[in-house]
């Protein structure tokens, strides 16, 4: 480079300014001359004092200082010192006459750029050149360093204050630098990552991306300027942090030296993105839910977005709407120009409210719609429009319907049969229907504005009531009907019924008052009330009559009841249909029923005695009294026999109105009858039995010629004993008949040797009863006893006869007599079949036969009752002991001393 050019390049503002510090102007001249040889473009100033020197430094601002080393007032070293104390390092050349090495070194050490010996002043330009270029270089370097430092400083500032983490990688992708923000983003301190490879920290799933880029970067670094990608890295605390990594390759000598980049935590961005998506989603959903069409367009009116209502309304598929169509396609052709005009005015910022357009569907169908649009701004510029479309065709229908409905209402109102008044909250009439006008005999014009109160001439309490109605309505409540008695034109007093209803019509609070003339109705009510009252009176009177009749009939019934109760027979009355009408207590007992339960029920339902039911039926069908015996169980399983007589009841020879049935308990009498019949039957039988022998054997004796003697004798003995038997039976019968008829029997008392009587009777029995053995033991003394001989004989006959009868297989019959305790005791004992307790108990009953079956021994059943009677008449006593199979013992005793009524008439007692 030429010196000039060097100077030019080294000096920012030519010409070169040189400051000479020389006390010797010649030396200065010399120096100048030398410099001129190579450098022409320069100025210079000469100083030789410190003061001047300093001054010149400030004023002249030299590019170069050439200073003499030694001077009287000033010296080069001092000048050097001063120069070097300044921040600008002005090149300083020491000019010296002579120098030794030490001095030279000292100059250089102190900061001189060079020294030139005065003897070699030719070197000066060269030294200047060198000094300047070195200085320039130095400056350049300094500047560069400064810049670098500044830039480093800036970088550091940025790096430290950046939210993003700024880093540098070497060519092996190891971190050489990481800004502190690493800690904020990933929780690691930069120190922890310095030296580590970036890929050590990347999240697994994004390995590929990073590695790919890294590979490409290595292969073709020049193709990369800046690369950025999103990834995720693991925060120190374990969570994944979404990051955006930007990197720029650093080159040195054309080769990849490293990478500089930044890492940004994009969590918020991510969240914002998600939120945005959410919002968009919500918006879409909302848009789809709303019943209106929502759309977005760009500046040209092309549709970017439409909700599905748009599809429904305009009938275009969604894809067409958002790709091919614009909003003007949705407007009826005749209105399109107007629409476009309005649209362009919108673009200028003019705003409009809702505009009515005629819309058109894909099918060409038109309909009324309302459209409202508002601009979408992006950076304060209109990017498009967002709007809604409301299909008002339905509204139109609605309006028409409403108006039709209103017309109907009008008709109803006008022609209603009741008077309708539409009044305001103050009670002033706004409207009245035909009926109302008729009622008041006025024209509508006369009524409007007047109060209802005055139209009906309501006063005092009526007026108050009316006002109460209004008050209720004002609270929004309807009212009940209120009656008012009013005077209407050309009518007498009228009663009207008014009810009021609050009605909100639009924003007006009105009241609908309905008035009905109920005069006629009220009259009817009154009549009805009078009618009712008179009816009540009639009913009361009638009731009194009925009550009286009831009481009478009750009295009668009580009388009848009393009679019925007192009758000892059961009485039952049934009607023609077989329903029980009456039943007295006795009948209840007999039939085991309660009249209360049987009344008005059919006899077939309550009675179980078929014979009785049949009887009553027969009485009715045969129309005459019929009779039957009915067996009933009266309580405790005791069977009774009732004689039932059913008689038809007829009044005055007309058809029977019912049947009267009488029930009489004939158990006892039937029993008696039965016993009598049986007695008679048995008696007849008893009589016939001995007669058979008597008749038979006597005939044999009379008719047979060739009988043996012993046969004859035997037959005669049979006849004899049977005659005795017969006589005994007959006497029994006679006794009984006497007792029954009330005659009783007499005792014929005389002193009697009872042993003798008894022995005689026993003998007779011996003769006639060979099969039995008769044993006697007369321990009693043969002394007389006052008794009826015949009767005691009768007693013996009976006892012995029974003993024989009830020991059919023969056996022993013993008779013992004894006197003890002033009594003559007789015991008759057999070893026969004996009797049971029951039979023993009943043995003395009249007609009682221990066994009355066909297989029983013969007997009338009278014997023992007569025996008992006889003994009792003798003031004696008798008892029977017996065990079945063990025989029977009968013991009687009569007092010896006592004197029974001699010949007294003893009335027969009715023995049980």
């Amino acid at each position: 480079m030429s010196p000039k050019s060097i100077v030019r390049t080294a000096i920012p503002d030519p010409p070169l300014r040189i400051l000479f510090v020389e006390d010797n102007p010649n030396d200065a001249e010399m120096a100048k001359r030398e410099i001129l040889r190579e450098i022409t473009d320069f100025r210079d100033v000469l100083v030789d004092t410190e003061k001047e020197f300093r001054h010149a430094l400030d004023d002249f601002n030299p590019h170069l200082i050439v200073s003499d080393y030694a001077m009287p007032a000033f010296n080069g070293m001092l000048a050097l010192e001063i120069a070097r104390s300044r921040p600008d390092r002005i090149p300083f050349i020491m000019l010296t006459g002579s120098i030794n090495e030490e001095t030279a070194v000292a100059c250089l050490k102190s900061g001189a750029d060079d020294y030139v010996l005065k003897e070699r002043i030719k070197r000066l330009p060269f030294a200047i050149r060198e000094a300047l270029s070195i200085h320039a270089e130095q400056l350049k370097n300094e500047r560069a360093l400064e810049q670098l430092r500044q830039s480093e400083e800036k970088f550091r500032l940025i790096a430290e204050n950046s939210i993003d983490c700024i880093w540098q990688l070497d060519k092996d992708f190891r971190f050489t630098f990481l800004s502190p923000s690493l800690h904020k983003i990933l929780g690691f301190k930069p120190e922890e990552w310095i030296g580590t490879c970036i890929f050590d920290h990347e999240a697994e799933k994004n390995d590929e991306v990073g590695h790919q880029i890294a590979r490409e970067m290595l292969e073709n670094p020049q193709t990369f300027t800046t690369v950025s990608f999103e990834t995720e890295m693991l925060h120190k605390d374990g969570r994944m942090v979404p990051l955006e990594i930007m990197g720029k390759p650093l080159f040195r000598s054309g080769k990849l030296a490293g990478i500089q980049g930044s890492t940004r935590d994009i969590s918020e961005r991510r969240q914002a993105e998600v939120a945005l998506r959410e919002n968009e989603k919500r918006f879409r959903e909302l848009a789809d839910m709303l019943p209106v069409v929502i759309f977005e367009t760009d500046r040209r009116g092309r549709i970017n977005y439409a909700n599905h209502q748009a599809v429904d309304l305009f009938k275009y598929p969604l894809e067409d709407l958002v790709t091919e169509l614009n909003i003007f396609d949705m407007i009826a052709p005749e209105e399109r120009d107007l629409a476009r005009d309005t649209f362009s005015r919108r673009l200028t910022g003019e705003s409009f409210g809702m505009i009515n357009y005629r819309g058109i569907t894909k099918n060409g169908k038109t309909f009324p719609m309302l459209v409202k649009m508002s601009p979408i701004l992006a950076d304060e510029v209109i990017a498009g429009f967002r709007g809604i479309v409301i299909d008002t065709s339905k509204d139109q229908e609605m309006i028409e319907k409403l108006s039709a409905s209103q017309k109907r209402f009008q008709v109803l109102f006008e022609y209603a049969p009741d008077s309708f008044f539409l009044i305001d909250t103050q009670g002033k009439i706004i409207e009245a229907n035909r009926q109302a006008l008729q009622m008041l005999q006025l024209q509508l014009a006369d009524l409007v504005g007047k109060s209802l109160v005055s139209s009906f001439h309501l006063q005092g309490p009526d007026k108050k009531r009316w006002q109460n109605l209004l008050a209720r309505n004002s609270k929004g409540l309807p009212t009940e009907m209120e009656e008012f008695s009013v005077k209407l034109p050309e009518r007498s007093r009228t009663v009207i019924e008014i009810s009021t209803y609050p009605a909100q019509i639009g924003s007006e609070a009105l009241i609908l008052a309905i008035a009905r003339d109920i005069t006629h109705f009220r009259q009817l009510q009154e009549e009805l009330e009078n009618h009712r009252k008179s009816l009540e009176r009639l009913v009361k009177a009638r009731t009194r009559e009925l009550n009286k009749a009831l009481r009478d009939s009750e009295t009668n019934r009580d009388r009848i009841d009393t009679i019925l109760k007192s009758v000892s027979d059961g009485l039952m009355v049934t009607d023609v249909n077989g329903y029980i009408i009456l039943m007295n207590t006795r009948a209840e007992e007999y039939l085991n029923l309660h009249f209360a339960e049987c009344i008005n029920r059919k006899i077939g339902d309550v009675l179980y005695q078929a014979s009785l039911i049949k009887l009553i039926g027969n009485a009715f069908t045969e129309s005459k009294a019929v009779r039957t015996d009915v067996e009933v169980m009266i309580k405790a399983g005791v069977a009774h026999v009732l004689e039932a007589v059913a008689k038809p009841i007829s009044v005055k020879k007309k058809k029977p109105i019912g049947i009267l049935t009488t029930l009489r308990d004939v158990t006892h009498s039937r029993e008696i009858e039965r016993m009598k019949t049986e007695f008679l039957s048995t008696t007849a039988h008893e009589l016939r039995t001995p007669l058979t022998s008597i008749q038979g054997f006597s005939e044999i004796l009379l008719t047979r010629k060739n009988l043996k003697a012993d046969e004859k004798e035997r037959f005669l003995s049979y006849i004899n004993r049977q005659s005795m038997n017969l006589s005994g039976i007959i006497s029994d019968l006679l006794d009984i008949s006497r007792i029954e008829s009330g005659e009783g029997f007499k005792l014929n008392i005389s002193p009697v040797n009872l042993n003798e009587i008894i022995a005689k009777r026993i003998e007779l029995f011996r003769i006639s009863h060979g099969e039995h053995t008769f044993i006697t033991n007369f321990r009693a003394a043969d002394r007389p006893v006052f008794a009826d001989q015949e009767k005691i004989d009768q007693v013996m006959q009976n006892l012995l006869s029974n003993a024989v009868k009830y020991s059919p297989n023969g056996g022993e019959i013993s008779v013992k007599t004894n006197i003890k305790d002033a009594e003559f005791q007789v015991a008759v004992k057999d070893c026969g079949i004996g009797m049971s307790k029951d039979q023993v108990r009943n043995i003395f009953r009249k007609f009682y036969r221990a066994d009355s079956s066909d297989t029983a021994p013969a007997g009338t059943g009278l014997g023992m009752s007569i025996v008992k009677l006889i003994i009792e008449k003798h003031k004696g006593r008798i008892h029977v002991e017996s065990r079945p199979g063990m025989g029977t013992k009968v013991v009687f005793a009569i007092p010896i001393q006592s004197n029974p009524e001699n010949g007294a008439h003893i009335q027969g007692e009715d023995q049980p």
């Binding site: 007849a684 039995t689 058979t692 022998s693 038979g696 054997f697 044999i700 049979y718 049977q722 297989t855």
Partner: protein, 122 residues
């Protein structure tokens, strides 16, 4: 030779009938109870049974008659009821039981003979 079985609980009656009917060609068997009567009848197969109605024991005359008349082996035997009960219903009961004839006590022996002949001939 005809065999006649006399059934009556009373010894006298048995003897009376025996005496009445005894003859050379007639063999008389006697029984005093219904049960006995049935046994003997089955065994001896008499030509005629004169049966008293009223007898003590398990079987009276009517029962015994019923049994004999329903038994194939003894059905053919003629039975003459003999009883003091002479009322209609007793007669009816007897005949219903299967008796061939009825005879009332007391009776004339001669009349009994005639009746028996009548029965034996039929």
């Amino acid at each position: 030779m005809k065999t006649i079985l006399i059934v009556d609980d009373q010894m006298e009656v048995r003897e009376l009938v025996d005496v009445t009917l005894s003859a050379d060609e007639i063999r008389i068997i006697k029984a005093s109870k219904g049960k006995e009567a049935v046994e003997i009848a089955r065994r001896e197969k008499p030509d005629l049974i004169i049966m008293d109605v009223m007898m003590p024991g398990k079987l009276n005359g009517i029962e015994a008659t019923r049994i004999l008349k329903s038994d194939e082996t003894t059905r053919h035997i003629a039975i003459l009821m003999l009883t003091a009960k002479g009322q209609d219903r007793d007669v009816e009961a007897g005949l219903k039981a299967g008796a061939d004839a009825y005879f009332v006590k007391p009776f004339s022996p001669l009349e009994l003979i005639r009746k028996v002949e009548e029965v034996l001939e039929s």
